[in-house]
C-alpha cells in the first residue's frame, strides 16, 4: 500500500495554506499504473496533476472538492 501524498513545495503554502481535490481521473478500486495522473488538485485557480506512486488498485480517501494541504494523503495504491 503506497500513499498518494500531496508534495511539499508545489505552491507557496505560506500565502495559500489549502487547496482542494478538483478531479479524480480513476474510479475508486480502478487498476492504475505508476505515473498515471490519478488526480488533479486546485490551489487558487492553478491546478497540479498528482500521479500514482506505484502499480496497483486505487483507493480514494479524500473526495472531489475535499480540502488538502502539502503532505495530505488523498488516497493510496494497493500493490496487492
Amino acid at each position: 500500500m503506497a500513499d498518494i501524498v500531496i508534495p511539499e513545495g508545489l505552491w507557496d503554502a505560506g500565502v495559500t495554506p489549502e487547496g482542494v481535490v478538483s478531479n479524480w481521473f480513476y474510479a475508486d478500486g480502478a487498476t492504475v499504473s505508476k505515473g498515471d495522473v490519478v488526480a488533479e488538485i486546485m490551489v487558487e485557480k492553478s491546478t497540479f496533476d498528482i500521479e500514482a506512486p506505484t502499480d496497483g488498485v486505487l483507493r480514494r480517501t479524500i473526495a472531489k472538492d475535499g480540502v488538502i494541504r502539502p503532505g495530505s494523503v488523498i488516497g493510496a495504491v494497493d500493490a496487492g
Binding site: 478531479n23 479524480w24 481521473f25 480513476y26 474510479a27 480502478a30 492504475v32 498515471d36 486546485m42 491546478t47
Partner: protein
Amino acid sequence: MSSNRILPVSRAISEAIAQEMRADPSVFVMGEDIGTYGGIFGATAGLLDEFGETRVRDTPISETGFIGAGVGAAMSGMRPIVELMFVDFFGVCMDSIYNLAAKNTYFSGGNCKVPMVIMTATGGGYSDAGQHSQTLHGTFAHLPGLKVVAPSNAYDAKGLMTTAIRDDSPVIFMFHKGLQGLAWMASPDAAATVVPEDAYEIPFGQAKVVREGKDVTIITLSMMVHRALAAAEALAKEGIDAEVVDLRTIVPLDRETILISVAKTGRLIVVDEDYKSFGVTGEIIATVAEHDPSCLKAPPRRLAVPDVPIPYSRVMERFVLPNADTIADAARATLR
C-alpha cells in the same frame, strides 16, 4: 494501455489535439491564451510544453486577423485549430468565418479545401452576462459550408475533435464551458467519462440515443443533454418513459434518428440552450412536420432561451435557461 481513465471534457479535447499534432505536422493551434495558459477553458493545456511556440501560437486580441490567418493557412496545406475564446466574440471576425472559411471551397470550384477547426466556448449558467453566455448554435448552423459540433461528454468530445481535425471542411467545434470539468466551474458528473487512450473518430451526423424510452422523445445537445437526463429520471418515478437523443453534431443533422424516435413515441420536446426563434428547435420540429406530421400524437414543444439577451442576474439567468424541471413539465404537458 489502461482504458479505465475518467477524463473531463477539457482533457479529452487537449488529448485529441495532441495526438493529431503528433501524427500530422501540418496540425497547429492558434488563439488567445492557448499557449502558456493552456486555454482559459483548458482545451489546449499541456500543448505548448510538448510542441513549442511554432505550433502552439498565442495571438493578440485580434480575432479578425488570426481567424483570417487560419483560413489562409488551411488553404495553403496546413490544418489549423483556431480558438475563438468565447463564441460571443464572433462579431468581429464573422467575415473570415462565413465569407472566407465557409465559402472558399465553393468559390474555388472545389479546388481549394479549408481544413480548419474553429474551437469555441459556449453556454451560460454562471452569471457571465449576455456577451459571454450564448451558445449561438443556430447562428452557425444556419450558414452553408460550416460543420457544427457540440458534444455533451468527454468520450464524444475526443472522438469528434479527432474527426474535426481530419475533416477537409471548416468545422465549428463548440464546447460548453460548464461541461469542461474545470476545477473552478461546476460540471455534471456524467460529462467526465472513460476515454480510450488511442485516437478514435466519431462520425459527424450520428446522433446518439442516450436514454431509451417509449412515451416521449426529448431531442437536445450539449449541456442540455444532462438537464434532459435529469428530467427523464424524475419522469421515470411518475411512470413516464422518456427517450433522450443527443444530437452531437448540428451540421450535419441526423434527421433519421430524430424521425425514428418520434415515430416510436409520438411526442416531441426539443431543448436547446440557444435563442428560441429561428433556431435548432424550430428546425427539428420542421423536420418532423415535413416528413410526417401524423406521427405526432400531441403538439411538439420547444424549450430554449426566450428571445432576450441572457441576463447577468443569477435569478433572471436561471429563469431563462431550460432546466430539468421545465423539461419535465413540458413532457408532462404533451402527455396530458
